[in-house]
């Protein structure tokens, strides 16, 4: 850590990050325009989808959100600069670790940036293995324009997984945040120093639950259907926040099949707002569709494939099989109560990141909230909000800045 950057108060770092993010909120900001092209090329997502991702990302990186998150976890932002008093507890100084490393995911956009922001607030030097879209490097360049000393603390690269360059950076890091498959995470963990902190984010998925109360009238139905469609189709169904299984209660004013048709219609609309990155169903999804068509012909469920866009919605697929974790594919399961959904999730040991509930009070009956809380998910939200997690909340049950600091108390 250079003396200059170490001397920079945390609030100034927050200011610089927020100011850099502010510039990236402009869709015409040249660096963003270039990064968008790179992201479209790397991910295969369409430009509206990439734009949505960048908007959500940089809209969340505000001065207030950063400060509130740090204060929420450490008590105050100033605790990053020196000892601060605490009521009833010894004074504390949250000293940042010397070095942090972040390994980006291949299916998400900018997932490394929040971690980078908090590592910088902790005044760590940060190495980021990024993807070849150059997003992190481009944001670091903007940040360096705001505060050159911050730019000097960031190193980015696309080092191959087995490379000595990456392994060396991981080996000397005090804290490592990594996104990826279980095998990738195991490889990363294997090269870390014994006392390094490791914050892994493995592959997970998300589910939803619609109560019968949320099917009481047309506006509620429309809101839930739109939300489900958006959550299922954004990012082509990739990533841990994509909706793949939606439980819908029987006994509502609208029956489950009718709700499925409403979701199907909403998917067709969402596919216009967020076009798919590919023209036809991929092979696995096409095969799944064929089987679903066969089942539907037997009177078991309902299947809808986008007429002009590749997406698939299946009502009541076999319960003894896990939900189809396929791209742009959503399975709806009719249930009588949350216990049915819980049993299904338990039977298939689905690792959940989030559970989305129908918007408003109609979606949040006590037993449903209890089910969602006990599902293993790290987050509850409204349908339609899955893909826009707030910065100020924990990520995957992990704190944002605590992994990058060590507490020193004075007593």
């Amino acid at each position: 850590m250079s003396a200059a950057s170490a001397a920079l108060p945390a609030r100034r770092i927050v200011d610089a990050l927020a100011d850099a993010a502010e510039r990236w909120r402009d869709a015409d900001f040249p660096a963003r325009v270039r990064a968008t092209r790179g992201l479209v090329a790397r991910t295969g997502y369409t430009e509206p989808v990439v734009d949505f991702a960048l908007d959500r990302l940089f809209e969340s990186l505000t001065r207030e959100a950063l400060a509130v998150t740090i204060a929420g976890e450490l008590g105050s932002v100033e605790a990053l600069d020196g000892f601060v008093a605490r009521t009833g507890r010894p004074d504390v100084f949250y000293r940042g670790v010397a070095r942090a490393a972040i390994v980006s995911s291949d299916t998400t956009i900018g997932v490394a940036l929040p971690a980078l922001a908090f590592a910088l607030c902790a005044k760590a030097r940060v190495a980021v293995k990024e993807r070849d879209d150059g997003l992190v490097a481009a944001f670091a360049a903007t940040l360096a324009e705001e505060r050159p000393e911050l730019g000097q603390r960031i190193e980015t690269g696309t080092w191959p997984a087995e490379s000595a360059e990456l392994r060396a950076r991981l080996a000397r890091a005090d804290t490592v945040v990594a996104f990826g498959r279980d095998a990738t995470l195991a490889d990363v963990r294997a090269v870390l120093a014994p006392n390094a902190r490791f914050v892994p984010f493995g592959h997970r998925t998300s589910a939803g639950y619609v109560t019968r109360e949320a099917l009481a009238d047309e506006s509620l139905v429309r809101a839930a259907a739109r939300g489900a469609a958006r959550d299922a189709l954004l990012y082509d169904g990739d990533g841990c926040l994509s909706l793949h299984a939606l439980f819908v209660e029987r006994g509502g004013a609208l029956d489950v099949a009718a709700f499925a048709r409403a979701v199907a219609a909403a998917c067709d609309e969402a596919a216009i707002e967020f076009p798919a990155g590919y023209a036809e169903l991929d092979a696995a999804t096409a095969a799944y569709r064929r089987r679903a068509l066969f089942r539907a012909a037997q009177g078991e469920g309902f299947v809808h494939a986008g007429a002009v866009a590749p997406h698939l919605l299946v009502l009541d697929p076999p319960r003894d099989e896990p939900p189809p974790l396929l791209r742009r594919t959503l399975a709806l399961y009719a249930v009588d109560e949350p216990r049915d959904a819980a049993a299904f999730l338990r039977a298939h040991a689905l690792p959940l990141e989030a559970v989305a509930l129908a918007p408003g009070a109609a979606g949040t009956r006590d037993d449903v909230v209890r089910f969602a809380s006990e599902s293993g998910a790290a987050r509850l939200c409204e349908l339609g909000r899955l893909q826009a997690p707030p910065l100020a909340a924990e990520h995957g049950s992990a704190e944002r800045i605590l992994p990058f600091v060590r507490a020193i108390y004075r007593a």
Binding site: A283, F294, A297, P318
Partner: protein, 367 residues
Amino acid sequence: MSDAAARALDDAFLAIVADWTRGGAGCDEARFDECARAAFAYQRERNAPYARFAAALGFDARRAPRTWREIPAVPAAAFKDATLATFDATRAELEFHTSGTTADRAGRHYVERAALYDAALLAGFDRFMLPDRPSLRFLNLVPNPRLRPHSSLGYMMGHVAVLRGDGKAAYFLDDDAVDASAFARALGAACAEARPVCVAGTAFAFVALLDALEAAGTRFAAPPGSRVMETGGFKGRSRVVERAELYARLEAALGIAQEAIVAEYGMTELVSQYYDAPASRTAATRVKVAPPWLRTLVVDDAGCEVPDGSEGYLRHVDLGNRSSVVAVQTEDRGYRSGDGIVLLGRAADAPARGCSLDAEDLAASRA
């Protein structure tokens, strides 16, 4: 349609088999087309789930397929979801279950008349596996049909071992292991008797056998005329060995030349099988050929035929499937090559299934 219709279809099928077995062509395009469409018409009346599926695709009493190529193909996975039989399945003379993990339902293929299955099986086996001699000793790394009566692979090898074996057939795939020691003793005895063998097994079982033989430093020089029938592939399982490597190891360990190693390609959902074409067994790319009553279309994701040589999904039309579904859509990929197909394996991300699961499940349970 009456039982007479079933008998007529079966007689037509058996006539094709007999013709081919005697060295005839079996059936040309017109005969195949007529038989396939007749089978479909029969199944549409007798097999309600198939009829419903066909109707959903626009084929009903008012609209029939114009050619065999248009016959609606049921996805292979549908055998898990419905009883696809033209008869009361409790009367099935044969009942085969697809392999699957414990969390997965098995598909069931009911065969009304074993005679059809047996005729197709023997004709194909004789032509492609046993053209040069009347019998062999069968050393089977497949499920023992007495213990696993619903394994189509077990039934197949059990049947040919009885009819084309020397009375000393044995099985080395138990419920919990590949019994490499017993296999070694059996092959050693065959060598001592100069009795040529047919070693039949799944690719995964062969790997387990080879691992054990190599660890023990055991090698054989199988008697001349010996051969291997490999089937099942790996189908997305955890341990995959390249086919060239597998065959090289088999040749080294068993003393059976690679051109005497024949890959069979079959499915629980089909009565008939493909085998490596004899002419391609020394080539870098093996082409699989089938008896004339089994034809295959190569289609794209949307189900449309692709040009010859282009990769796609295999859709089989098997006249032997008279009592179930004549057209089956698989997730196996391949392309046409001359009169045969080149099999590329299972589509990525398709649920892994297939005969090799038997052996891998065993390997997993040993771990």
